[in-house]
Amino acid sequence: MKYNKSSLLWLLQRISAVLIFSALGAHIWKVHYVELGQPILYAGVALRLKDVMTLALDSSILFLGLFHGLNGVRMVALDYDFLKKHDRLISWLLVIVGAAFFILGVRGLWAFLINIK
């Protein structure tokens, strides 16, 4: 299979939507239902966020969400003549915004496990 950028991004947009849906399901289950009935305490949340699997799951939701949202923004931008002229610039800006938010988010999440200054 040989992909053009547009067909690849279109396909990844669909795949990421399905993955977000399933990953969010797993996240909601883990956060809200596994310990149903237990008192909700900060200590419990902090403990959960020390678990590598939970952190990996939440980080992947963050990655997929950012990709899906920002790729959507690019697709909308390409709908307009006056924006599509700047496709390259817009794409790079979105990559930078995505990377910045991902790093920020991951820092916040993993801070419970690794001591990040």
Partner: protein, 230 residues
Amino acid sequence: MVTFKIARFDSDKDKEPRFQTYEVPDEKEMSVLEALFYIVENLDGSLAFRYSCRGAVCGSCAMRINGQNRLACQTLIKKLGSTTITISPLPHLPVQKDLMVDMESFFAKYEKIKPYLINNDPIPDKEFKQSFKERAEIDEMINCILCGNCYSACTMAATNSDYLGPAALTKAYRFYADSRDTAKAERLRIIDGEDGAFRCHTLFNCAEVCPKNIVPTYSIQKLKGAACFK
């Protein structure tokens, strides 16, 4: 009497379009096109509009009638259920005069998709055969009369001037899916890319206005799938 409010505009003289009102006798089974003939013959010979077949075959009489893109010859006044009928040219296309629009961009995109059968196989003794099932897949798309209603109603074609649009993509699928056509890879190359099938956001505006009940979105989705999994 039926009141017709018709957009008048002459690109050589006018800056803005204006609406002119005409009263037309309410004849039984009269179509909008017949009412336009009445106006030209009896009230105002300067009104410009296109038509040819008068039978929903040529696609020339597409215009916006009471807020929806329709064929004037196919639209009966009584079916509109109103005694005031507003007519304007197809939106999102440059107006040449009154109800006539410039279809240049529409046909340029149609040409881009190579709207003809390509078959480089040796010519058979009799004919290129096609089963009923193979033909059924393209039946709907073959009915397209290139009226431009879908193209004019498409939001994406309105904001992105390079987007191929629903009509050209419907025809592209018509040839791609034709069992006798051998240029599948070339056709997919043409419709791939940011201004091809992937620009469609499945709004279905095109399907709503097609006088032949074609659903261009179906063809476009099929092309997207084919381009992704080629």
